[in-house]
Symmetry: C2
Subunit: 248 residues, 2 copies
DNA sequence: ACAAAAGTGTTTTTTATACACCCATGC
DNA sequence: GCATGGGTGTATAAAAAACACTTTTGT
């Protein structure tokens, strides 16, 4: 984890042999079920040792000729069919003994996990259940004990998601092409919690920024006045790139 | 790098063998020369292939039994003697062919670099020049072509430093125990550039936050009114932890 | 006395926050 | 007609930005 303070230590392991690594990629894949206002994370049931029959983040070991990012996309492609997604690298967990396989026969081999963080559109995401495999969306509030240090990775990913939402337009990667301002607001509430902003202020702030265009199309969801559908305008957003834009 | 968009690709390298990795740790070590208002980065001259006689970020390969972070601290200890520092993980670069050694004899072995970001106190940092080794502080504005993808890593580290400075108290890890408000201001200017805030506003904002205590001690630097020395008060800062505190 | 650096205060503009209220629809 | 969600506006408070001014030193 970033931000801690160990002491400088120059023990004389100067002539220690180099470690050999297998490198795994684990994805923290989030989606938001706007209908039920739940933030979800994708978990898979492990089908081999170690941690057989434990839930875990979907992951894979990196193959020859494959980049880390390729591996992250491969996991996605194997578990889920999705059109739109946001993906970025999260953190690298690599202490010795984080994987029990390091203990056993294959002496000296270390397992390192490069984690990626993804956000997908819940409605369009289609899970791929290969034969016997368990795969499911879990509410982040109800994740069970996971394999390896995956609970820790998930916590870290959740923190990143909250930050991302505040200062970057990831939300639009995960909303439908056209959405109501309330859809957007619900997404923020679901991820960030109730107390971040009043709806009308949220609305005013976002519209003033000028990168949401009103399509004029109205949708009615049950009772109440029909809402306008808006569209994210990438060109209008361009000037805000890399600026400390604040959404909340 | 985070934030890009490749396409999902599920090529059938399903039966490809796993890659074997050596894992390197490379540190982007910054310091600020407040006397000359320069942001510096520590570079070392490589003494072996590949890229012999090129400048590079100080790095090492991870040894058996050593965690990533241990390796990062080991690099620090080998290159520099320093009391106070801030260190956190930056990013993991791991595409195939980023290291030319992957081409040659040792077929199949990949080199992956986990980069760390460090900030040290320039005045107290003592460089360790082992025998023939070149080691030097470079102004980030004048770094030469570096080995591997180290220029890219440096750019990424610089961006992180700027962000960190804006919303976290890293500056105090790198200033002397007692400092004038102008010292602090110069540090911000040096890292962030000229146009972020006027001195008196910067001053007022920071003092209002209440975690800088005036020691009463005055120092005179040439002409002009003597300045008060301030001290960072960690207890008074505690309530701001994890809050979206903004310094700039 | 005067320049230089430190430190204080004031004015203006912008942004955040908390609401009150009007609008259009389903039932 | 009234409950429901959509949408607009206003009044107050707080923060950011610009800049004028005072204080204390060295020379």
């Amino acid at each position: 984890m970033p931000g801690h303070n160990s002491k400088l230590s120059a023990r004389s392991l100067n002539q220690q042999p180099l470690a050999d690594f297998k490198v795994g990629v684990d994805n923290v894949i989030f989606s938001v079920d706007t209908a039920q206002n739940r933030l979800l994370v994708l978990l898979v049931m492990r089908q081999q040792e170690p941690f057989i029959n434990s839930w875990s983040l979907p992951g894979t070991l990196v193959r020859q000729g494959e980049s880390l990012e390729d591996a992250a996309y491969r996991i996605m492609a194997e578990k889920i069919r999705v059109e739109n997604l946001y993906l970025e690298q999260l953190y690298t967990f690599g202490g010795p003994l984080r994987d029990p396989r390091e203990d056993s026969t294959s002496f000296g081999v270390r397992y390192l996990s490069v984690s990626y963080f993804a956000l997908v559109r819940f409605e369009e995401a289609e899970l791929i259940a290969d034969k016997v495999a368990g795969i499911a969306w879990y509410s982040v509030k109800q994740v069970p004990q996971l394999a390896f240090d995956h609970n820790e990775i998930l916590t870290y990913g959740h923190r990143r998601l909250k930050n991302k939402l505040e200062y970057s337009p990831v939300a639009f990667d995960v909303l439908p092409e056209m959405f109501t301002l309330n859809d957007l607001y619900q997404l923020y509430i679901t991820v960030l919690g109730e107390n971040f902003s009043d709806y009308s202020n949220f609305r005013a702030r976002l519209l003033k920024l000028g990168f949401l265009s009103d399509t004029g199309i109205k949708v009615s969801r049950g009772a109440g006045r029909p809402a306008s559908l808006y569209r994210f305008n990438a060109e209008a957003f361009a000037p805000f790139k890399d600026k400390p834009l604040v959404f909340i």
